[in-house]
C-alpha cells in the first residue's frame, strides 16, 4: 500500500493482504541498501495467517519516494511515524541487519509501541569497513557485488534458492541496484555511526528473539553472541549452513523462530 509519511509517498508491503488495524501487527525493517523484498518469505506467509504485516521500503528505497535517512535514530523515529499512520498502537518489530539496529533504537526511543522484538543477523554494532563505504560512494556496482557475495552462505554462492528457479546473488544485486544512487553509502554510514546498540539492547524488556547464521560474514555469529548477552532474557536461535541473508536463505527456519517470538508477545 502507499501511505504518506511526513508528506512523502511511502510504499509498505502488507504481504498481499489489505492492512487490518485490528489484527496484531508485525513491522519488518530491511537492511542496508535493501527493500521490503528482504521479507519475500515472511511478509505473505504471516499476512496470510492473520497478522497485519507492515514491510516498508525505507525513504528513498525501492518503491518509496524521498531521501534516504542518514541516521539510525531518524529511521527509528520514521518507523514510529509509520506505526501511527498505519493506525497501530503496538507492533512486534523485526529487523534484519541495519533494520535490527533500527528496531533496537525504536524500542529504546519508543518503548510503548514495541510489544516484542526480533533481531536477525545482528550484533550490538555494525562497524562497516571504511573501504566498503568508499566503494559504495565511488563504484556502487562493485559494492553491491561485494555485499551479495559476502552476504550469502554456500547456497547463495551456488544459486540454490528455496524458491524454484531463483538466484540469490542476481536477485540481491538487482534489488540493490533498484535503489537510487548513493542510498547504500548513506545506509552504511548510518550503521557505522550508530553507537547506541549496547544501551538500546540493555533497555529491552519486551520478549526478544535473536536469529543468527553460523556462516554470517557480515555480522559474524560470534559478535551476535554479544547481542544475546546484552538482552538478558532474549531467546537465541542459530541457523546452520546460512549466511547474512537469512530471511531469504532460510525462510522456513526464520519463520519458525519468529513464530516462537509471536507466541510470547501474543501477537
Amino acid at each position: 500500500m502507499q501511505v504518506l509519511i511526513n508528506n512523502v509517498n511511502t510504499f509498505v508491503s502488507t504481504g498481499g493482504r489489505k492492512a487490518d488495524k485490528d489484527a496484531p501487527c508485525l513491522l519488518f525493517i530491511h537492511g542496508s541498501g535493501q527493500t521490503h523484498l528482504t521479507w519475500l518469505l515472511q511478509a505473505r506467509f504471516f499476512a496470510n495467517r492473520g497478522w497485519s504485516v507492515l514491510a516498508p521500503d525505507l525513504p528513498g528505497h525501492g518503491l518509496s519516494k524521498g531521501e534516504a535517512l542518514s541516521s539510525i535514530e531518524d529511521m527509528a523515529d520514521w518507523c514510529h511515524d509509520l506505526i501511527i499512520v498505519a493506525g497501530h498502537h503496538k507492533v512486534t518489530v523485526i529487523g534484519h541487519s541495519q533494520g535490527g539496529l533500527v528496531a533496537l533504537e525504536l524500542a529504546r526511543r519508543h518503548p510503548n509501541v514495541v510489544a516484542g522484538i526480533g533481531l536477525i543477523a545482528l550484533a550490538t554494532a555494525i562497524p562497516v569497513n571504511p573501504q566498503l563505504i568508499t566503494m559504495a560512494e565511488d563504484t556502487e556496482p562493485a559494492a553491491f557485488d561485494a555485499m551479495v557475495t559476502w552476504g550469502h552462505g554456500r547456497d547463495g554462492a551456488f544459486h540454490d534458492h528455496p524458491m524454484p528457479g531463483n538466484s540469490h546473488l542476481h536477485m540481491g544485486t538487482r534489488i540493490m541496484a533498484s535503489n537510487p544512487k548513493g542510498v547504500l553509502a548513506t545506509d552504511l554510514k548510518a550503521c557505522a555511526a550508530y553507537t547506541e546498540g549496547e544501551t538500546a539492547a540493555a533497555s529491552i524488556t519486551q520478549p526478544a528473539m535473536i536469529i543468527l547464521a553460523r556462516d554470517d560474514r557480515m555480522t559474524p555469529w560470534k559478535q551476535g553472541q554479544g547481542l544475546a548477552k546484552a538482552i538478558a532474557h532474549a531467546n537465541l536461535v542459530t541457523i546452520e549452513n546460512a549466511g547474512h541473508m537469512l530471511p531469504v536463505e532460510r525462510g522456513d527456519d526464520v519463520n519458525k523462530a519468529l513464530r516462537h517470538l509471536f507466541e510470547q508477545t501474543g501477537a
Partner: protein, 439 residues
C-alpha cells in the same frame, strides 16, 4: 565462497546441493508428479507461493529446479522457468505480458516457428505484430506503439545470421518504456549474455547447444530482473492484482522476479507446457560441458569457414565472423568468443546443387535441428521455413539455394572431407544437368 565462479564451475555446480540423507553427487531425477505436504498449512503456503518447495510437477520439480537455477546463474538473471520446448518458452513469455489488443515489435529475421507464432497464432487472439529489420533501428523505434508490450528478436537470426545490436535496441525499447525480449538460442550464455547488454528477458531452446546431444527437448525463460514494470501502466499482468494468490501485485511482492512469477503462476498453472524431469536431467548432462563443447564448436566453425571460403564449388558462404558480413563489427563486439556455429552457404549451381549436396553428405546428418554434437545440414526453404510467406522468407534472408549447416564436434578433417566429397558430387550432377540440356 566467491560470487565470481567461472562459467564451467557454475555449469557443473550451480543450483544443486547434495542432500544429507543420500549424498547423490549427480542431480537426481525426481520422476514424480507430486510431493507430500508436511501439513495443511504447508500445502496452503506452497499454493500461495509463500515458501520455497514443490507441490506439483506441472508448476515446478526439484530436477527441473536445478536446471532453472543453473541457467539463471549462467545467464545472470534473477530467476528462470524451464518449459517443454523453446517454442513454449516464447509463447509463455508473450502470454505473460500481452492481452487482446496488444502489440509486439519483432525481428523479421527469425526462426520460422517464432514468426508463425506471432503472425498466425497470436493474431487470432488479438495480439498483433509489426515485423521489422532488426538492424534498422529507426524502423524499430517507429514501429513501437502505445500498446506495444515487447520488442522481440534473436541475437543471431536464424537462418539469415544477421546480428542484433542488443545494447542499441535495448536503448530504443527502454526509451519507449518497453522491455527487450531476446531468443538467445544460437549464441548460448557461453558466447553472449544478452542481459548484460541491456536485454530484459532471455529465451533459449534447450534442445539445441545447451542440451547438445539431440536427445531431449526443452526451453527456458530467464528473467533479467532489470526492467521497471511499474514505470507506466503498460503491464497490468504484473502491476495489477493477480487473479490468483489473494490478488497479489507481483511487481510489489516479487520485485525483480515479477515476470518469472507471472510465467510460473499463469503459464505453468493454466497452460502447463512442463519439461519432463527426465529431459531436465538429460539437458543438465549437456549443460555441464557447455563451455568445453562451445569452444570445440567454434574451433570447428572457424576451420570449416576457412575451408568453404576457398572451395571452388561454393558459390557463397555466410557467417557473422567473416569480414564482409554486414553485422561483422557488432558480432565481434558482442561475441568475442565467436558468433555461433551456424554457417549458411550456397553451392554453385543453385537450389538443385544445394539439395544434391545435402543428399550426398554422409557424415553430416540431414535433419531439422541445430546445436547437436553432430554436424547437421538442411535446406530451410523447403523445411524449417517452408510455412512462412514468400515475403517473410525474403525478409528472413532466405535464398533459394541456402544450406544451413550446424557445425558439430567431429574431427574437423572428417567434416571437411565429407563436405568436399558432397560438394564435388553436387557439382558433377549440376554439370551433367547442363550437359544434358546442351545436348
Amino acid at each position: 565462497m566467491s560470487k565470481s565462479f567461472g562459467f564451467d564451475t557454475l555449469g557443473l555446480h550451480a543450483g544443486f546441493t547434495p542432500d544429507d540423507r543420500h549424498g547423490s553427487r549427480a542431480v537426481p531425477i525426481h520422476q514424480t508428479t507430486s510431493y507430500m505436504f508436511h501439513d495443511t498449512e504447508h500445502a496452503a503456503a506452497l499454493y500461495n507461493l509463500e515458501v520455497g518447495g514443490h507441490l506439483y510437477t506441472r508448476i515446478s520439480n526439484p530436477t527441473i529446479g536445478v536446471l532453472e537455477n543453473r541457467m539463471a546463474a549462467l545467464d545472470e538473471g534473477v530467476a528462470a522457468v524451464a518449459v517443454a520446448t523453446g517454442m513454449s518458452a516464447v509463447f509463455l513469455s508473450v502470454l505473460a505480458l500481452c492481452s487482446q489488443g496488444d502489440h509486439i515489435v519483432a525481428s523479421s529475421q527469425m526462426y520460422g516457428g517464432n514468426i508463425n507464432l506471432l503472425e498466425h497464432t497470436m493474431s487470432r487472439f488479438g495480439v498483433t505484430t509489426s515485423f521489422v529489420d532488426p538492424t534498422d533501428h529507426d524502423a524499430i523505434a517507429a514501429a513501437i506503439q502505445p500498446n506495444t508490450k515487447m520488442v522481440f528478436g534473436e541475437v543471431i537470426g536464424n537462418p539469415g545470421l544477421d546480428v542484433m545490436d542488443i545494447s542499441a535496441v535495448a536503448e530504443i525499447a527502454h526509451a519507449a518504456g518497453v522491455p527487450l525480449v531476446i531468443d538467445a538460442t544460437l549464441n548460448t550464455p557461453y558466447l553472449m549474455k544478452p542481459l548484460k547488454h541491456g536485454a530484459n528477458i532471455v529465451i533459449h531452446s534447450l534442445t539445441k547447444w545447451i542440451g547438445g546431444h539431440g536427445v531431449a527437448m526443452g526451453g527456458i525463460i530467464v528473467d533479467g530482473g532489470n526492467f521497471d514494470w511499474g514505470q507506466n501502466d503498460r503491464f497490468p499482468t504484473l502491476t495489477q492484482p493477480h487473479f490468483a494468490f489473494q490478488e497479489v501485485n507481483l511487481w510489489e511482492e516479487f520485485g525483480p522476479a515479477a515476470f518469472s512469477m507471472r510465467v510460473r503462476s499463469e503459464g505453468m498453472y493454466n497452460i502447463g507446457p512442463t519439461l519432463s524431469p527426465m529431459n531436465a536431467f538429460h539437458i543438465l548432462q549437456g549443460l555441464e560441458t557447455l563451455g568445453m563443447r562451445m569452444e570445440r564448436h567454434m574451433a570447428n566453425t572457424n576451420a570449416l569457414l576457412e575451408f568453404l571460403k576457398n572451395h571452388d564449388g561454393v558459390a557463397w558462404v555466410n557467417h557473422p565472423s567473416l569480414a564482409d558480413h554486414p553485422c561483422h563489427d557488432i558480432a565481434m563486439r558482442q561475441m568475442p568468443k565467436g558468433a555461433g556455429s551456424i554457417i549458411t552457404m550456397g553451392i554453385k549451381g543453385g537450389r538443385k546443387a544445394s539439395q544434391a549436396f545435402i543428399e550426398k553428405v554422409e557424415l553430416a546428418s540431414h535433419l531439422a535441428n541445430v546445436g547437436d554434437a553432430r554436424t547437421l545440414v538442411i535446406h530451410p526453404g523447403s523445411t524449417t521455413h517452408s510455412h512462412i510467406s514468400a515475403d517473410a522468407m525474403k525478409a528472413a534472408g532466405l535464398t533459394d539455394d541456402l544450406i544451413r549447416i550446424s557445425v558439430g564436434l567431429e574431427d574437423i578433417n572428417d567434416i571437411k572431407a565429407d563436405f568436399d566429397r558432397a560438394i564435388k558430387i553436387a557439382q558433377k550432377i549440376d554439370q551433367q544437368k547442363h550437359a544434358t540440356k546442351g545436348a
